[in-house]
Symmetry: C2
Subunit: 126 residues, 2 copies
Amino acid sequence: MNGKEGSMAIQDVEHCECSEIHQNTIEQVLEQMPDEDVLYDLAELFKVFGDSSRIRILFALYGADICVCDLAETLNMTQSAVSHQLKILKQSKLVNSRREGKQVYYFLADDHVRRIIAQGMEHVTE
Amino acid sequence: MNGKEGSMAIQDVEHCECSEIHQNTIEQVLEQMPDEDVLYDLAELFKVFGDSSRIRILFALYGADICVCDLAETLNMTQSAVSHQLKILKQSKLVNSRREGKQVYYFLADDHVRRIIAQGMEHVTE
DNA sequence: TGAATATATGAACAGATATTCATATGAAAG
DNA sequence: CTTTCATATGAATATCTGTTCATATATTCA
């Protein structure tokens, strides 16, 4: 009895007890929303940036390619911890790596990463 | 015995067993790194974007001001869950609110939010 | 081939976090 | 002022996540 009836289906649960629901507002908003999976991917992307260790790694790689060991030393982290985080960063396509003998050098994948970080910095440092 | 001695102090622990540490690389990287607290704040900021529910809320608010109840209904969330997330978004200064009678309308705080999201979208939808 | 070194990875644990449930607050209408 | 309605909030819980520890993999050098 809230103006939403019939063919909606899937989940016919109430989510709030309010009676003042603006149905047309809701529909308009829903129309301009990206697909659920895009939203999910976007959240996942930001989640990767949302950790101090990973942000520090990304900043370290901002200007130069660095090997795992130097990263660990620079950031006061365990080699293992760095490796784990680098794996996450690589899976998210934020960094890439190349092998040089025994060492593996990591570097930022592209300029998207730099731009996203730069945007965030603007908000933080204003 | 790794070339780093004397006045460093604070934490004199080894973080990896590598002997091939490039000391000058490390120093250069450390110089161009922002302060720890800036990095922390930046990570905290992205952490807020790094959750599906909050991203969905932000997208819903992208084009229009919406009250809590409509948000809940639109996003298939509990009113309580929405409120909790809105609080986090507000504390991070990503949204603001105004009261209109019994309802509270939320809206994006500024264009930083839109730009950060837009940058993320570029990476995700490419 | 074998030893040494740099990196990767799996399991376990501790800390963080999103949701739910119950309830409090605050505005509005009678 | 009392009731009703919209929102806020505290506590509890289940889930997720980052680090550590132990160990595996892979490359170089003797």
